[in-house]
Amino acid sequence: MKSKKENRKSAGEQWQSMKNCAFMVGQVAKYSPSFFVLTMLEGIISGVTGALVNTVLIKVLFDRLELGVSFASVALVIIVTAAVHFTGNAYSFFYGWAIKQWLRQKLQRGMHKDLFAKARSLDLSCYDDPVFYNDFVWAINQADSRASNIVDDIRITMTNLIFSFASLILLLTIDPVMVIVSLVFSFISSRISLLTNKLSKKREEAIMPHTRRSDYVARALTLPEYAKETRIGHAPDLLLAKYRESIDGRKKVTVRFGKKLCVLGSAYEFSRTCSSVILHVYMAWKLFSGAITLGGFAAANNAVWNLYWGFQEIAENYTKFVNHGLFAEKYRTFLAYEPKITSGEKPVPVIDTLTFDKVRFRYPGAQSDSLDEISFSIRRGEKVAIVGYNGAGKTTLIKLLLRLYDPTEGSIRVNGEDIRELELQPYREKYGTVFQDFQIFASTIAENVIADIYTDDLRQKVEQALEKSTFSDKLATLENGIDTPLTREFDDKGVNLSGGESQKIAIARVFAHDGEIIVMDEPSSALDPISEYQLNETILCHAQDKTVIFISHRLSTTRMADRILMFANGRLIEDGSHEELMKLNGKYAEMFRMQAEKYTA
């Protein structure tokens, strides 16, 4: 038995879920008022025409038949009914099948404009929180379809309410007892179907992890990026074993819930049959005792059925709103998220010194610090190489510098000013950055290089940047030059670049951006030695007066640096020029010698 408290709690939740749904409806009304109004109108029109055709006009028809009026007068009723029927259909077809579809696009456009802006403002740390991340992906992927589904479900409820109400009134005029009987049974069966729905939802939740498993297996066995691995080892055997597990799991869940669902289903059918039998016996009795006419009997029979279906649909729809409410809540949380990395107020000066002051950083949820009391200072124009073992915290350092994260302790300062005090966007624009895991976007080469909307006056800039990143040779082979679309996402003639070529595009971004500071995380990992050499030369010559910070595992490239920062386990362990560090004969020297051995042997 549920306690009162629980009941109240669940009532509170339902109220909250309704409020969330109302919020979504508000969103729809905001982005596409016509979608909202016309859909509601659709609901009313189908309700009214449905009520007219199936209850009112049928009653009139039966009455007239009974009275024995002329054929013309009965035919008129039928023609009017057909006309009403047609009008209702015409609205819902032209609106529902056509206009509504493009209004939905308008809704999608409007909602996504704000959603995308919000998504771009999310802190990177949100991606580290799997729960938030999943909700966020869910919110952004389903926003418009959910919103329009909510409005649609309101429409359906409205139609059914009007329809049921009309049937109810009709029944009242024939015999109030039937109203009571059918209401009681409708109530019972709608309770049963509510229970059924709840149980099915639980079943779905229980099946979900198993489905995720088999979906993963299906993906790993079909996606091209896995194709090589699945052909060379015996991974498919392992994957298939997982698949079988998932099927077994699903079977168990189905059996477990199946029994209960079976009982509920039978109860439902039983209540339905009972009500039908009782009503028919009662109506037959009334008919034989002469209390109602044959026409009345037929109309009542019809109305009982309509009422029954109407209630059924309302109950089914109602459970959908609980789901909608859940979604709406996530959506609201996402919209209400306040980024923790916020812009400061101070204008960004020319960066003369860049100082890390006792910076400590720990990823949210991590067990240990990724960076531990890092202090150093970089002057304008300095070329700094960051080296160290895998997992030493080098990339994290870059992320802090660009304010993708803020330090857990300590501060990063520009000319003595904490970077958190500076305006965020202008601060980030001071940097041109290439990441290790850079991305190529499905747009033209020019847009990928400019990393913004491309206009033709930027042509020279793009071409020069590509020249510097040693992409020119490849560019010459492309028919459409810098207007060539990359990837086949939008264009079947799109070009898929190799890893090294893509990296050159990413590097060209830095040259085109022309910021004060260049940051490169493993800029040459996929480049052949010649391209790497040329790249180093261009960086040196292009960036003479610029500050350059780069991470590299190829220590030969670190020699062009004025200064080398050697990291191990989140700590800065050595700091100095190549010569100094070689003289120091510490970890850097060891690492360098190891790599140089094969070249100098």
Partner: protein, 409 residues
Amino acid sequence: MEMAVLDRQRDYTRRTFYLSDYAKEMRLSSIGNVMMQRFHRTIGMIEAFMKKKLPFHAFLRLMMISIRNILCYHGASLYAVFRTIVSGTIRYGDCLVIIDTISRLSYFMSNIGDTAAEFQGHSLYVNNLRAFLEYQPKIADGPLPAPEACADLEFHDVHFRYDGQEKETIRGVNLRIRAGEKIALVGLNGAGKTTLAKLMLRFYDPTDGVITYGGNDVRSYEVEGKNGYRERISVVFQDFKLFAMSVADNILLRERQKGDDTLIAEAMQHSGIAEKVQTLPEKENTLLTREFDENGTVLSGGEGQKIAIARTFAKDAQLVILDEPSSALDPIAEYKMYENMMQVCEGKSVVFISHRLSSATLADTIYFLENGQVIEQGTHQALMAQNGKYAEMFRIQARNYVQEKGEME
């Protein structure tokens, strides 16, 4: 354009806004504006498509439904009424029953109609399914079991062109990897190195020329299974993938058997991942990726690469192919990995592809590729003496290291 294509494109732009892969660029540059523009353009195209097609669709449907439901239903009612009132051939009660039944009848009829239409869709799907099931792989089994001992692998004037491309990627390559030989494939980006590796693995067959293993055309061997040709090869790809399985399963890539524990431990030791695995909550049984487990471990690029490398140590293969196996490794890890590889692969053939030419010096023979052709081949010393493209490339990379030595002396 088809709706499905537009939908796919819209989904792509949407992904760039929420996937973590794109998150950094989205925040640090204005590429988001471009994606936003694409999104609006795609939605615009969807809208235009709908405005063009849908009104007519709606009209057709309305007519269909009107004829089926309205005309049939109300027409039948009218007819029943006519027979009752005018011709008097049916009774009043029957008329009511007819009107009542016909409404249900029309409902069921329309249901049947809708369902029948769905079968068209099913049939389309079944067509695809059958085409897929009946597909005969072009890389087919030959009659022979692949030799168990390490054997010579030879390319005889091999040409290869990818489907749908005009230019050949491989243009007449001859090379011979003797049993137990270590060879390096070097060259500029796009020279065809990875394609050669794919041909060795029989992921593709040459468009012209022959590849032999142990003297027989590789096409004459079984492909997979115990006696399969691919069973003899182990490989690390540039774009390796880890599976959402335990570390041990990821390394073995097969069912675990008794005695595999030492194999796994050794493989982890050799690839340099053992230390890291010790720190994981369930050691080598820790689940990788967050696919199934919120607490699954996500490895860094370098760590993932070490797992992929451990696979080759755990598989008893005669030919080992390493395609840029160390791109994400730090110098110490790289150095140790190569040391171990050379030691473990005693007696096995090894092919490595690397831009770090220091590793090429380990090879017995180096093949320098350019535009799909071998333009230089020989030992490191021979190629350096030849003073060609390889020597130039090597000197450029070695310059900074060599300078160092000069200074030190």
